[in-house]
């Protein structure tokens, strides 16, 4: 328990400081922080549909966040989760609309697994092998592969083979047999949330209880010692980048089958990038990823409500997101603030 508290203490502190600085910014720019935060909270959790939408928003963030966290754990920076997410979405969409007459219990797993494989290949084959055998930095290669995926899907949708007849750049709707049903009517919350939670538990088990996780983390912390211990370092690099891509691909598929039901040009809202922040705040802990994804999802849904009801620009949520990232990344700053505070206290006591 004490250990748990210690490990979640810094992220929570980062969030609190970000909220405080956020209110200072609101005060300076002439908004009432109390009413802004109240409406932010109501927007995210105030009603059952709001809660459902927050949860729905969290699903792709959880799954993609898990992918990014696996790579981080292995000492790798998968900045291209966005592209792997697109690849997963493309494959799931295509399987979703082009196979007819499959029962749902075959159609859905088929689409999900195919999307996972595609995402895994996208993240693992090119960036993984390039990193393992030539040392090409994964930040560059995953990023480039991400652009390839995004522009490839633009091509597919804008007068390409996946475009539905008409003038709107979008794919056909997926068949009903491929749809992951909604839990609460008129919300976006589908049973995909259970896939996300199961994925988090699975990743936790994989990374902390199995020999594969042990190896990946060992390689992530210290490649040299891992090599000296007889581990195959290049293989583990490929493996962890592939796994990372597998989860990003799964996220794209769950989003298509559960929420969007078709692919259109602007269907992603930058989940692949937010996922990096999700993993950072969670300190790569798979269970932590669930909670940190919920936080960012809440900021997302809440900010729309806040904009409408408190007339505070929704971008303020982005500012808070940015501040959280800043303080998580710079937790050394928090350490310094803490020690300064302690010193002051000591001096007060002494005098």
């Amino acid at each position: 328990m004490k250990k748990l508290l210690k490990s979640i203490y810094m992220p929570i502190l980062a969030v609190i400081i970000a909220i405080i600085i956020g209110s200072i910014i609101m005060l300076v720019t002439g908004f009432n922080p109390l009413s802004a935060y109240a409406s932010l909270f109501i927007g995210a959790f105030g009603t059952l549909p709001n809660i459902a939408n927050t949860l729905a928003n969290a699903v792709p963030l959880i799954i993609t966040g898990l992918g990014v966290a696996i790579a981080f754990d292995a000492g790798l920076f998968n900045i291209g989760a966005e592209g792997q997410y697109w690849i997963g979405a493309i494959v799931a969409t295509w399987i979703g609309y082009s196979f007819k007459g499959l029962p749902w219990y075959i159609h859905i797993p088929f689409a999900l697994i195919a999307a996972m494989i595609a995402g895994g290949l996208w993240g693992g084959i090119v960036p993984g092998f390039a990193k393992a055998y030539t040392g090409a930095h994964e930040v560059i290669t995953t990023m480039m592969m991400s652009y390839v995926a995004i522009y490839f899907s633009h091509y597919l949708l804008e007068f390409g083979p996946m475009m539905e007849k008409g003038s709107v750049p979008q794919s056909p709707l997926i068949k009903d047999s491929a749809v992951i049903p909604t839990i609460l009517r008129n919300t976006q919350l589908s049973y995909g949330i259970f896939i996300a939670i199961a994925a988090a538990l699975f990743v936790y088990w994989l990374m902390y209880k199995t020999v594969w996780g042990y190896e990946m983390r060992a390689v992530g912390f210290n490649q040299r010692a891992s090599k000296y211990a007889g581990m195959n370092v290049p293989l583990n690099i490929v493996l962890s980048l592939s796994l990372s891509g597998i989860f990003a691909g799964l996220a794209g598929a769950v989003q298509i089958l559960g929420v969007q039901h078709r692919l259109y040009d602007s269907f992603t809202s930058g989940y692949g990038y937010t996922a990096i922040v999700v993993a950072l705040l969670a300190k790569n802990n798979p269970i932590g990823v669930v909670f940190s994804a919920l936080l960012f999802a809440a900021l997302g849904t809440g900010s729309q409500y806040m904009q409408l009801n408190a007339q505070v620009p929704g971008q303020l949520a982005d500012v808070i997101t940015g501040l959280i990232i800043f303080f998580v990344a710079a937790d050394k700053i928090i350490e310094v603030l803490k020690s300064m505070f302690k010193k002051q206290k000591k001096e007060e006591l002494a005098s």
């Binding site: 199995t210 020999v211 594969w212 983390r217 912390f221 210290n222 040299r224 090599k227 000296y228 007889g230």
Partner: protein, 508 residues
């Protein structure tokens, strides 16, 4: 004689540690005063206080009868205190003269090479420290670089010279030369503080010894009136077995056989050249040599961490030179790498996880790919107790343990698996007397149980006291293999430096 330096009751507290706790020290004029203590005893803290790098929390420093209130090393230098750090502070591409005068050049804006060289020649003549002022520092041997550091101090008119572990990087011959220099300086009235944890050196060179333990000075003795045993006991705080008790040499079959092994480094330069040797069971084979003479490449090749160019490595009569590292471990080879933090441990893994770093895949610890943590923890609590790893909480990260205890984790993993062949590279590097005693005991125990051990060390003392046979490597070539019983310091030292001995007294 009168006191040059007086340290009165100095205390320095770092967060959680009393690094110096009521320390007292008196150094007389023209005296060589050794400070002896284990790692973390507070020697470096004390020296840094004397040199002005730290300010003491309480206590008083007197130099030449005057109370010192140093705000930094520049003031210490001004007063006549010089220090030669263990890691030299020299600029390799500059000449000797440029390095010495740096920051205190003899004339105005433009650098006057002639004048600087003249000054340095004069100082080196006065103090019998021969050196060529125009030589580039990077071309000098370690011993000569140290001489430059000493000259730097005298160029700034030092009356007290602090030498921090000066012999750590030197060959035996260079150490002798340094001692010669120190005796000369003493004759000229210079006081020297000599920091070391090597008892024999302290005994040989110093007039007085002050022993430190856990931040306190536990006593100052006249060197002549004490012995190594007494000093070691004072240092550790209990009775220490100093002489390694070795049982009869009883070699069995050849376990490792290396023949004509040649290994290149990344730049394709041959670092190991046609090396051949055998190691038998029940034998410790010591590999002596100055750092960087091919030891690293040889060991990495033996472990399958580096490809070999040509040659044969046989283990129990089977060729293993093509086997990957893990397969070699599986055959019963253990390996204590030189750099425990970079090569031997994963600092951010727990002690328990580190203890299975090579065996996590074995059926003992995992089933169908799932690690059986119950067994991992059983193993951890057993090893923690057997090898006295402290603190005993095996869930702590390895990085949170002290260096000595980190080394014990590696020892527990590598020795605890009862290997048939152990390759130990500098197993006691940076350890203190108590830990060294323990590690040596374990190595000898392993030998007596019939394992073959390849011991690579830069400490000649260690090689000589443990090895049954000693191979000396120089520039990638095994110069000779000597019988451990009859090998002398001088002979090994000469071989390490690359000179062949004319008359081979020992045939192998």
């Amino acid at each position: 004689m009168s006191a040059l330096l007086e340290v009165n009751n100095i205390t320095k507290i770092f967060p959680k540690v009393r690094a110096n706790d009521g320390v007292n020290l008196v150094v007389e004029e023209g005296e060589i005063h050794a400070i002896l203590g284990e790692n973390g005893a507070g020697k470096s803290t004390l020296m840094n206080i004397i040199y002005g790098l730290y300010r003491p929390d309480s206590g008083e420093l007197k130099f030449n009868g005057e109370v010192l209130n140093l705000s930094g090393p520049h003031e210490a230098i001004e007063k006549g205190i010089g220090m030669v750090h263990q890691h030299f502070m020299l600029i390799p591409v500059l000449t000797v003269a440029e390095n010495i005068v740096l920051g205190a050049e003899p004339s105005g804006i433009s650098y006057n090479r002639k004048k600087a060289n003249e000054l340095i020649r004069e100082i080196s003549r006065n103090y019998h420290l021969e050196i060529d002022p125009d030589a580039k520092v990077k071309d000098l041997s370690v011993g000569l670089q140290q001489r430059v550091e000493i000259l730097k101090a005298f160029y700034r008119h030092a009356k007290l010279l602090i030498l921090d572990e000066p012999t750590a990087m030197l060959t035996p011959q260079e150490t002798e030369e340094l001692f010669g220099i120190m005796r000369n300086l003493k004759k000229q009235g210079i006081s020297i503080i000599f920091i070391s944890h090597k008892l024999d050196e302290v005994k040989e060179i110093s007039d007085k010894v002050t022993v430190m333990r856990r931040g306190k000075t536990v006593g100052t003795l006249n060197t002549k009136e004490t012995n190594e045993q007494e000093l070691a006991n004072l240092m550790v705080g209990r009775e220490v077995v100093l002489r390694v008790e070795k049982s009869e040499y009883n070699p069995g079959d050849v376990v490792l056989s290396v023949k004509d092994l040649t290994v290149s480094d990344e730049q394709n330069i041959e670092k190991v050249k046609n090396v051949s040797f055998d190691i038998r069971s029940g034998e410790i084979f010591g590999l002596a040599g100055i750092d960087g003479n091919g030891q690293t490449e040889l060991i990495e090749a033996l472990m399958g961490l580096r490809p070999i160019k040509s040659g044969i490595i046989k283990y129990n009569n089977n060729n293993i030179e093509k086997l990957p590292t893990r397969e070699r471990y599986k055959l019963g080879i253990s390996y204590i790498p030189q750099d425990r933090q970079q090569e031997g441990l994963i600092m951010k893994f727990s002690v328990a996880d580190n203890l299975i770093l090579k065996e996590y895949k074995n059926s003992q610890y995992s089933k169908n790919g799932v690690i059986q943590y119950k067994r991992v923890f059983e193993n951890a609590s057993k090893k923690v107790e057997e090898f006295d790893i402290r603190p005993t909480d095996y869930n702590l990260l390895a990085g949170n343990l002290s260096g000595g205890n980190q080394q014990k984790i590696i020892l527990a993993r590598e020795v605890g698996s009862n290997p048939k062949l152990l390759i130990a590279v500098q197993p006691t590097r940076g350890m203190d007397v108590g830990a060294i005693e323990y590690i040596h005991k374990r190595l000898l125990q392993l030998r007596d149980e019939g394992s073959a051990i390849l011991l690579v060390s830069l400490e000649l003392e260690e090689i000589m006291s443990l090895s049954d046979r000693i191979g000396v490597i120089h520039n990638g070539v095994i110069m000779d293999i000597l019988d451990g019983k009859f090998a002398t310091r001088e002979k090994i030292g000469l071989l390490m430096a690359g000179s062949q001995i004319d008359a081979k007294e020992v045939e192998v």
